[in-house]
């Protein structure tokens, strides 16, 4: 492919999206206006995404996220586009992260110039404001890689030097040669000791100063003892330790330990990366209506509540707000787990961090920064990830005496062996120090719980504290405290009662003619019923329909088939509006139809079940969990819902006190109760339950009193969480057992002197990896659609 064709391919990829403004899989790219780019030419803005580069005077290094990149070929096009601008010294684009690093000279070029050059090729550059955080992580990763490689290379070479000592027959190896090999090993062990082991020593020292004990102390001790013994052997071949050196063991176990740490760092980076994706969703700048009545692009941090902003398709909303003009489709998947695009018209609220997909809208800002839903979610995720579950606290408390025990065991083993074999004694102590793995013990719980919390966040459930997961895994009763958690806000027509001489289908069709002019949920339900086969009949047309807010609709209707037939004046609405005696016994919502002679028909309305409600309840039953419904609604509608779902125990007309009493009665039987509510006015019930869920679309997240908040409204998320929590606790138990058994088996082996130091290092590194890898299985678990 020549350069020209490559470019035209890239251009053709970008062009249709630009031209039509919509495209299904691609988020359309909207070029920044030249004006918005010039904002970035202010040197005060530079420090947010750039830093001074040491390469030349007045040189800056900027980090930008390139939008519109799909493949590796794009990264070359992007590089060329930016590099072709005079004054740009160096460009580096990563296809994997979609990030570009641009080094440019402030004397010759401004950021807007190279960003415009990029836009002409159909891409868009967004300044990356997290440049410092990611830079710090990159330095850390590089250093860890470098430490690991030094240890690995030196280990290989030291092994070469050790090889003759293992295979030579007595007398094969001259004393000078053996000495030379030891010297060479010592020289190559130095970088491992001084550089690769740096973190072990510095952490051990830090812990000693603080008077605490951590994993790194026995490791550092082990390394130091081995090196000291071997160094003595090298420089005093005739001395007490002159018979053998252990540089090969030393470098090998350092290499194994570092391999374990390196893999852990990579796994952690992946989690941090996904959180960062969430943080980076807010745009940098937004179009705000200024005093002159013109939209002008300003940085997001200059926004204030009450501003009117214009958001183009393809952009993310910068703040929570209400749509004032236009209507669009938004993607809230990352915030609520709702995978479908949602329609938002005038008056609808939009949340920061969601994406505008289809058309330009004007939004009145209502909340900014930390006050937005998005800000609350990020804050909750951060606070939950540092909270410590009880088992983890227990493991941490155990770790200290455990480490003390290990140090003691090492000392005792050393003393024991000293009497018979003083040379061997120190290496036995080293093996004991290195093989013990309290980090598997203290990693067991948090690793599994964090993986589970990440999984739940993806399916739209926020974990407010990790402790809740433990409680959630034990529940055997689920109580829904609202009919509304099981039903949608949509009503359906149930029974139809009619005046003698009027058929049910006739009544439905007459009512539907009026209902077509109203948006009230009851009207919608009647209209929907008119298309059902059982109510099929002659359809009616209406004329002169007026809607009386809160009462009903009124108008004249005529059957379509009878041309010029008799026109009836009809009223559809509440009992009062239709002037009929309301049925005092009725406890479901009803709509009435009346004509000039009075009552014509009554429609019983039922709340429609949420999608998947019955399968969710079924999965709960299959998992051995009883389902109860304590509702404040009337008996008939509660019974109706309960019967459809097969709920064991449904109580109607409950006051909050009734609900609390009912829950306490269950708890008195020794049941563990999970409350699912809307989190608004049932605080005591939620707080008293073993574990609790709140549906978060009604509440301020920060005020929700439940352990978990469901951000969307899928009932399946609750089921998924319960099953995931059970799985999580079983993983935690597996991890704890593994850590206990491993230590119980290996420490005696090491004390007995059967475990060489290198094998001990391998054992310890793999033990903590087993724990982390086991926990990561939870990342992929998906219970939302299937059963257990």
């Amino acid at each position: 492919m020549s350069q020209a064709t490559l470019e035209s391919v890239a251009a053709s990829l970008a062009q249709p999206a630009l031209a039509t403004g919509i495209s299904a899989p691609l988020v359309p790219l909207v070029p920044h206006s030249a004006e918005s780019l010039h904002l970035l030419d202010d040197p005060h803005e530079w420090s947010a995404f750039s830093r001074r580069s040491g390469k030349a005077a007045d040189c800056w290094e900027s980090s930008v996220v390139v939008e519109g990149m799909h493949c590796a070929a794009c990264s070359f096009t992007v590089e060329e586009a930016i590099a072709s601008v005079p004054g740009v010294l160096q460009v580096q684009v990563s296809a994997a992260t979609h990030r570009a690093k641009v080094v440019w000279s402030a004397a010759q070029v401004k950021p807007s110039l190279w960003m415009q050059a990029l836009q002409q090729r159909g891409y868009r550059a967004v300044p990356a404001n997290d440049v410092f955080a990611s830079e710090q992580r990159r330095v850390e990763t590089r250093k860890a890689l470098w430490r690991w490689l030094v240890a690995g290379l030196c280990m290989m070479q030291v092994m070469m030097y050790a090889y003759p000592a293992y295979t030579a027959h007595p007398g094969d190896l001259s004393i000078e040669m053996e000495q030379l090999l030891r010297w060479a090993s010592w020289v190559l062990s130095l970088p491992v000791m001084l550089f690769s082991c740096g973190p072990f020593f510095s952490n051990a020292l830090r812990d000693l100063r603080r008077g605490s004990v951590s994993m790194d102390l026995p490791v550092a001790l082990g390394i130091a003892i081995t090196f000291a013994v071997s160094t003595l052997g090298t420089f005093e071949p005739a001395g007490a330790y002159g018979r053998e050196v252990y540089f090969d063991s030393l470098t090998m176990f350092v290499f194994f330990l570092l391999t374990g740490r390196w893999l852990e760092l990579r796994l952690r980076d992946r989690t941090a990366g996904s959180l960062e994706v969430l943080m980076n969703r807010l745009p940098e700048s937004v179009e705000r209506l200024n005093l002159q009545g013109v939209f002008e692009r300003v940085a997001v941090r200059r926004l204030a509540v009450g501003d009117l902003v214009r958001v183009h398709p393809g952009e993310a909303f910068a703040a929570d707000g209400v749509v004032e003009q236009g209507s669009t489709v938004v993607d809230e998947a990352l915030l609520t787990g709702e995978s479908h695009a949602l329609e938002r018209g005038p008056g609808a609220s939009v949340v920061a961090g969601s994406h505008n997909l289809s058309s330009t809208v004007q939004v009145r800002v209502q909340a900014l920064g930390g006050d937005t839903r998005f800000g609350q979610i990020v804050a909750l995720m951060q606070s939950a990830s540092v909270s410590k579950p009880r088992t983890a606290q227990l493991a941490d408390r155990l770790a200290k005496p455990f480490l003390m025990g290990v140090l003691l065991a090492a000392a005792l083993a050393c003393l024991w062996w000293w009497r018979t074999d003083p040379e061997h004694a120190l290496m036995v102590a080293v093996a004991v120090l290195v093989v013990t793995c309290p980090c598997a013990l203290s990693l067991a719980t948090p690793a599994a719980m964090l993986a589970a919390a990440g999984n739940m966040a993806r399916s739209g459930v926020l974990v407010r504290n990790l402790q809740g997961l433990e409680a959630l895994s034990e529940v055997d009763v689920v109580v829904f405290d609202k009919t509304g958690t099981l039903t949608r806000e949509v009503l359906t027509v149930g029974r139809v009662l009619t005046r003698a001489g009027v058929s049910e289908s006739q009544a439905v069709q007459m009512a539907a003619a009026l209902a077509a002019h109203s948006l009230h949920p009851a009207s919608k339900s009647v209209l929907a019923a008119a298309s059902w086969p059982i109510y099929a009949g002659v359809s009616w047309t209406s004329d002169g329909v007026t809607e009386h807010a809160g009462l009903g609709v009124e108008g004249s209707a005529v059957a379509q088939a009878e041309r010029g037939g008799e026109s009836l004046t009809l009223r559809l609405g509440s009992a009062e509006f239709c002037a009929v005696a309301s049925d005092a016994m009725a406890d479901t919502p009803r709509a009435y139809l009346a004509d000039a002679q009075g009552w014509l028909a009554t429609f019983e309305l039922h709340e429609e079940l949420r999608d998947g409600a019955s399968s969710a309840i079924q999965v709960l039953h299959d998992a051995g969990i009883a389902v109860h419904l304590f509702s404040g609604d009337g008996k008939a509608s509660v019974q109706h819902v309960a019967a459809q779902l097969g709920i064991d125990d449904a109580r109607s007309a409950c006051t909050p006190a009734d609900k609390l009493a009912g829950m306490q009665a269950l708890q008195a039987q020794g049941r563990k109760v999970l409350m699912v509510g809307d989190g608004l006015n049932d605080g005591p019930v939620l707080a008293g339950a073993h574990a609790s869920f709140a549906f978060g679309n009604a509440v301020q997240l920060a005020q929700a009193q439940s352990d978990f908040v469901v951000m969307g409204n899928q009932l399946h998320a609750v089921v998924h969480s319960v099953l995931l929590a059970r799985k999580t606790m079983s993983v935690v138990r597996q991890n704890l057992w593994w850590a206990l058994l491993y230590n119980a088996a290996c420490v005696p082996l090491a004390v007995a002197g059967w475990l060489p130091a290198w094998l001990a290092g391998l054992g310890m590194a793999s033990s903590s990896l087993v724990v982390v890898a086991n926990a990561l299985r939870l990342n992929r678990a998906d219970f939302s659609r299937k059963g257990i």
């Binding site: 590796a72 490689l149 030379l180 190559l188």
Partner: protein, 45 residues
Amino acid sequence: MDILYLLIPLSVVLVFFILGGLWWAIDRGQFEDIEREGERILKDS
């Protein structure tokens, strides 16, 4: 076999050279985007 007295120290020096090369590679970020160089073949300008 006297040559070993020269070769073994030389091997130590060689290891340090290799380490130097690795440092250079890491410092230039060559391990951060492993796929990129493989995909360079797609480009023919």
